[in-house]
Every structure is written in structure tokens, then in C-alpha cells.
């Protein structure tokens, strides 16, 4: 994927560029807001990562003007601020996701993957399926190999997010945001607690574990060998 990274701090820009390049993306770095705006308006990028504080033209203005210009690629905003209302203003400006510095690269990569999947808009799905696990999104029911599995609503939402990840990593923070709607990090790992309950329900009767733990990062649905 062709990704624009608008970041004025050279170390951070290179950290992101190298990481994304290793994942097979083409990365162009813009070091100020005006340059970022010019590149984005040429519409050759498929995704943009924009730092909130850029010299020349600040990140939020870049996002706003990009949207006004009709460019609708996914945009992830990076910020060192992390104040309570920053996320809201970022999303209101037209950003699709928001990540607070400092971040682990795995977190950024997972979010880039998620944003890339979000485009193009998936047709209205009523069912998700992964190696025998079937989620009925309308009835909120889970079945594995044809047998129904009783899960709590929150466990259903966790499984749904993992299945939508299509085998890509979904981080703990992403799960906290999407399932619990918390934008802070509780010390107790409630995500792990609930995943382990979901796991034991899904694997009941000695079935193989299909939820893979990525240590220190998050989870993904295990792919077939």
C-alpha cells in the first residue's frame, strides 16, 4: 500500500517508515503540513498517517482540508498531546483513527491494517465465518462446527472484532476502544480476562484454540496451516 507519513520529527518518521516498509508498504514522508497537503491532494496515496503538530500547517488542518478537497483515503492522526477532548476534535476534523505517542510499532501496524480493511466499505454482512466458527450478526449467536456456543454479549463483541480482523492482529487497546469504549488503559487486563473466558467456551470439548495470542500486543484469529 502507498502510505503518506506526515511527521516532522525525523526519528519518528524513520521509525514509522522503516517499520511499514518491512511490512511491504511504500512510504513517502512529508516533513511539514503544506507538503503533506500538496501530496495528499495529488491523490496517489491509499492511506495517510498525519502528526497533529506539524510546522507550516497543523495536522488537523491538513486532515480538514484533505476532506474538503474530497480525498477520502483513511487517515490516522498521531498526537503527543493525549488530552481528553483531543481524540474527539481529531475525529471531528475527519480522521478515521487516533493514536497517542509514544506508541508501540505493533499498535500502529495493527491500526494501519484495520484502516486498510475498512476501505472499501464492506457490503452489509450478516454472518462472519472463520474455520468453522460462525457468527450470526443479526441473532448475536455463535456456533462452532455447527454446534451452538453460549457466550456473553461482551464475549460476542470480542469475537466479532477478532473475526473482522481477518487473521490480522487486533491489539488490546483497539479491543478496549471498540468493545468497552474506553480510551484509557486500565491496569488490570480485562481484555485478557474476557478473552480467556471466550476461549474456554469456544474450545469446549478439546477443540483446537483458534484465538492466537501475540504477546504484549493483542490477538488474532489463527489461520489454517
Amino acid at each position: 500500500m502507498n502510505i503518506l507519513v506526515a511527521e516532522d520529527d525525523d526519528d519518528t518518521a524513520q521509525f514509522i517508515r522503516r517499520g511499514l516498509a518491512e511490512l511491504g508498504h511504500e512510504v513517502v514522508v512529508a516533513t511539514n503540513g503544506v507538503e503533506a497537503m500538496q501530496r495528499l491532494s495529488r491523490a496517489q496515496h491509499e492511506l495517510a498517517i498525519v502528526d497533529r503538530m506539524l510546522p507550516g500547517l497543523d495536522g488537523l488542518s491538513v486532515v480538514r482540508q484533505t476532506r474538503t478537497a474530497g480525498v477520502d483515503i483513511p487517515i490516522l492522526v498521531l498526537t503527543a498531546l493525549g488530552r481528553i477532548d483531543d481524540r474527539v476534535t481529531g475525529l471531528e476534523a475527519g480522521a478515521d483513527d487516533y493514536l497517542i505517542k509514544p506508541f508501540a510499532f505493533s499498535e500502529l501496524a495493527a491500526r494501519v491494517n484495520a484502516l486498510a480493511r475498512r476501505k472499501p466499505a464492506p457490503q452489509q454482512q450478516t454472518e462472519l465465518e472463520h474455520r468453522g466458527i460462525v457468527l450470526d450478526l443479526l441473532r448475536r449467536e455463535v456456533a462452532r462446527d455447527g454446534a451452538p456456543v453460549q457466550v456473553q454479549p461482551r464475549e460476542f463483541r470480542l469475537l466479532e472484532e477478532l473475526m473482522r480482523g481477518e487473521g490480522k492482529i487486533v491489539t488490546r487497546t483497539m479491543l478496549l476502544e471498540r468493545v468497552w469504549n474506553y480510551h484509557f488503559d486500565p491496569q488490570t487486563n480485562i481484555v485478557d480476562t474476557h478473552i480467556s473466558r471466550l476461549r474456554s467456551k469456544l474450545n469446549h470439548g478439546g477443540k483446537p484454540d483458534l484465538i492466537e495470542t501475540i504477546r504484549g500486543v493483542g490477538y488474532r484469529m489463527a489461520c489454517g496451516d
Binding site: 488530552r83 477532548d85 474527539v88 474506553y182 484509557f184 486500565p186 488490570t188 480467556s196 473466558r197
Partner: protein, 454 residues
């Protein structure tokens, strides 16, 4: 300290004086014009009356009678300096002693020759008695001018007097205002100079200046409190950061010696993360304390928020061999920030989870009580010594026995700050046995009791 022309006090006093002076000049002009008008009319009346009497004499007795009358009047001297003359058409004076040329008919000011004072001005009425006789009755307007001169003189004196009084008043008022303001300014200068404990002097009268000084003092108290807090926090941060950073340094040094083993590096990353999480906790705390987030307060359904939290955390308690029990009243509403309230309750729950022994039961109880909503997190663990209770909500406060467990000692500070942000409070008490943390939050003003629907 403040120069004359730039002093607002003097400017105000002098402007006040100028307005006073203009008023005085106007009043003088009005008095002058009025007396002028009144006296002119009176003179007109005097000469008209006199002239009419003489005309009657002429009509009754002819020239002889008139001449007699005039002579009698001139001899009496009782009347105010009236002058009389009858002129022939050729300008010759026939009777009377008024020494003046023959004037035209009607009311006029004339110049006559006074045997004593010389040339003088008089107010005269001239009428034709017959084709031959023209009667002039005149009255000297000297005394009238004198009266007017006196009016002008009185007002001049009054004006000069008022000028002196007002000017003196301006100086007194100006220097008074300046003295009061200088007292405040010099205290401010002392504070600027570093004496931050200095306060504005407050007089016994409780006037405007004293009230301003009292307000400034309260502001200074607040600023000093914030400064103290800031100083305390910076030294706490410096202290609390030294430990993990020193540990990190040792780790990295060992990593360098051993050629950067992967395990050491990932350990170092974990330690940096710890420091960073301490930083974000500090930032979040100061953000909440700044009260900026109040702008986006909405009605928060506390019942569903707490139920959700309890259900999410019950599993975590169970995994650690403790129990979470909850009793949450329906329809609890608080005006506030959902995330911050959630974080506060989570901090209380995590506190109970972390600082209690295995087997402890923790209760989450939420209920409306009067005008407030109470959220209690109580455990039946060992509790906190009564002497420590007031300290545990302070920043970086950690009981001696919990020094070795994880955590940065900011959890309860945040709960406290969140409660205060919502105009509520955090009360720590002995649950006998155990610790009870109560968040007491005000209910919204117009409590929509009827909003029973989900």
C-alpha cells in the same frame, strides 16, 4: 511613581472641577441676563409712568402747568435722578434741566451732561406733546449698571473661590486615590520582587479599595497554593522517576556489557513503558485538575456504566481469587464525563483488587441519597490505619507496606480529582473491617425521574 499628566486620579478630579466651573460661568451669565432684563423693564416703566403724568399735566394746564410740574419735580430731588426737558422743533430746550440734544421719539438710551458727573448715560422716553413741544423724561441708569457690576463681581469672586476649592479638592482626592493605589502597587512590586507571601494591605473601612485588595489577596492565595502544589509535584515526579530510570540505566548497562541480549532489551522497553505510563497518569491528573474537561459534560447513565464495569471486572476478581459483588440502583444519573467516571471507578476497583489478600469480598454499591449519588467500593480486607486515611488520596501517597507492589500512587489522587471535577468528593473511611471508598457526586439539577425507559 506616577507623573502628573498620566494620573487618572488627578484627571478625574480636574475634570470634575472643570464641569463645576462651566456650571458656575453659566449660572453667572443667566443671573446677569435676568437682572439686565428686569432692570431695563423697570426703568422703562419708571420713565413711562412719569411721562404719562406730565402728559396729563400738559393736557390739563398747557405749557405753564407742565413747566410748573417739571420745576417741582426737579426741586424735590426725592425721585431717583430723573431728568426732564421739553424741546422745540429747532432743538432749543424750552423747560427742564436735562442737558442733552433733542432725541427722536420712543425709548432710547441717551447721553446727557450731568453737572456733577459730566457725560453720563440715561434711559429716556421721548414723546411729542404738540407739534411744538417734545417731552423727554430720562432716568440715570448709573445705579442699574452698578448693580450689574456687583453681580459680575460676586460671581467672579465665587468663581475664583470655587476654582481654589475645586483645585484643592482635586489635589487632595488625587493624592488620596494615588496613595491607596500605591499601597496595592507597592505590594505587587514586592511580590514581583520575590516576596510571594506578601499580601495587599486591607483597611478597616471595607471600601472599594479594600474589597479589590481582598479579592487580589484571595487570587494570590490561590496562585500560591497552585505554586506549592506544582513544586510538590515536580519534586515528587523527580523522585518517582529516578527509581525506574536508575533501574533502566542498570539494565541497559548490563545489556551493553553482555552484547545487547534480547531479553534485556525487552525488559528495558517494559521499564520505559512504566515511566511513560507514570507520565500519562500525571498529565491526566493535571488535566482533570484544570477543570477544562467540564466543557463537554453530558448526562451519564451511571447505572449502566457501573453495571457494565462490574460485569467486566467480576471476571478479573474471580481470576485472582477475590469476589466482586454489586448492588446498583436503577436510573442513576450524573452530569459528567463518562470516561473519567469509568476511570475513577476502575481505579477504586483496581485498588481493592491490588491491596487486599486472597479471598477478599469487594462490594460495589451505588445509590441515590438526597441530592447526590453515592458510589461505594468497600472491601473486607485489612483496611488502612486511621492515621493514614487522610493521606492516601494525596499524590504519590503509598502506604509503606504497598511500596513493593506495582502502581504509581496516583490512582486515588485521580479519583479524588475526578470527584472534585464533578463538584463531588471522595471520602475514605473504615469499613470495619476493610476500607470503604465513597465517591459522592451531585445529581443533575432537573433530575429526570420519569426517564425510566432504557
Amino acid at each position: 511613581m506616577i507623573s502628573w499628566p498620566s494620573s487618572a486620579a488627578y484627571r478625574i478630579a480636574l475634570a470634575n472641577f472643570a464641569a463645576y466651573a462651566v456650571g458656575l460661568v453659566l449660572l453667572g451669565a443667566i443671573v446677569f441676563a435676568t437682572t439686565h432684563l428686569v432692570f431695563s423693564r423697570q426703568l422703562d416703566g419708571m420713565v413711562t409712568d412719569e411721562s404719562q403724568e406730565l402728559q396729563r399735566s400738559f393736557a390739563n394746564g398747557g405749557e405753564q402747568e407742565l413747566a410748573k410740574e417739571i420745576a417741582a419735580r426737579e426741586a424735590s430731588k426725592s425721585a431717583r435722578k430723573m431728568g426732564y426737558a421739553v424741546f422745540a422743533p429747532d432743538g432749543r430746550r424750552l423747560y427742564g434741566s436735562l442737558q442733552a440734544p433733542r432725541p427722536p421719539t420712543g425709548h432710547h438710551s441717551i447721553i446727557f451732561h450731568d453737572p456733577v458727573e459730566g457725560k453720563d448715560e440715561a434711559h429716556a422716553l421721548t414723546v411729542d406733546l404738540s407739534p411744538r413741544d417734545r417731552l423727554v423724561v430720562a432716568v440715570d441708569s448709573d445705579w442699574f449698571e452698578n448693580v450689574q457690576n456687583i453681580v459680575v463681581l460676586i460671581f467672579s469672586f465665587a468663581f475664583v473661590g470655587a476654582l481654589l476649592v475645586a483645585f484643592g479638592g482635586a489635589i487632595v482626592l488625587g493624592s488620596y486615590l494615588q496613595r491607596r493605589l500605591n499601597a496595592i502597587a507597592s505590594s505587587a512590586e514586592a511580590i514581583i520582587g520575590g516576596d510571594i507571601r506578601r499580601r495587599m494591605p486591607i483597611g478597616p473601612r471595607n471600601d472599594e479599595f479594600d474589597q479589590v485588595a481582598a479579592t487580589l489577596n484571595r487570587m494570590l492565595d490561590r496562585i500560591e497554593g497552585l505554586l506549592d502544589n506544582l513544586r510538590q509535584v515536580s519534586s515528587d515526579i523527580a523522585h518517582d522517576l529516578r527509581t525506574p530510570l536508575a533501574r533502566l540505566r542498570n539494565h541497559l548497562e548490563r545489556g551493553v556489557d553482555e552484547g545487547g541480549a534480547a531479553a534485556l532489551l525487552s525488559d528495558a522497553v517494559r521499564q520505559v513503558d512504566e515511566v511513560l505510563s507514570l507520565f500519562s497518569a500525571i498529565l491526566r491528573l493535571s488535566e482533570v485538575e484544570s477543570r477544562e474537561t467540564r466543557r463537554q459534560f453530558t448526562d451519564v447513565d451511571v447505572t449502566s456504566l457501573l453495571t457494565e464495569l462490574a460485569e467486566s471486572y467480576a471476571a478479573a476478581f474471580e481470576d485472582r481469587d477475590r469476589r466482586l459483588l454489586w448492588t446498583i440502583e436503577p436510573n442513576l444519573l450524573v452530569e459528567g464525563d463518562r470516561e473519567l467516571l469509568a476511570q475513577a471507578v476502575i481505579n477504586l476497583l483496581e485498588n481493592a483488587l491490588r491491596h487486599t489478600p486472597v479471598g477478599t469480598a469487594v462490594r460495589l454499591i451505588a445509590a441515590a441519597k438526597g441530592r447526590s449519588v453515592r458510589i461505594d467500593v468497600a472491601d473486607n480486607g485489612p483496611g488502612v490505619p486511621a492515621t493514614e486515611l487522610p493521606n492516601i488520596t494525596k499524590r504519590f501517597a503509598r502506604l509503606e507496606r504497598s511500596r513493593k507492589t506495582a502502581g504509581h500512587g496516583l490512582g486515588l489522587s485521580l479519583v479524588n480529582a475526578v470527584a472534585q471535577l464533578h463538584d463531588g468528593k471522595l471520602i475514605m473511611s473504615d469499613a470495619g473491617p476493610g476500607l470503604c471508598a465513597r465517591m459522592q457526586l451531585p445529581r443533575p439539577k432537573a433530575s429526570p425521574k420519569s426517564a425510566r425507559a432504557a
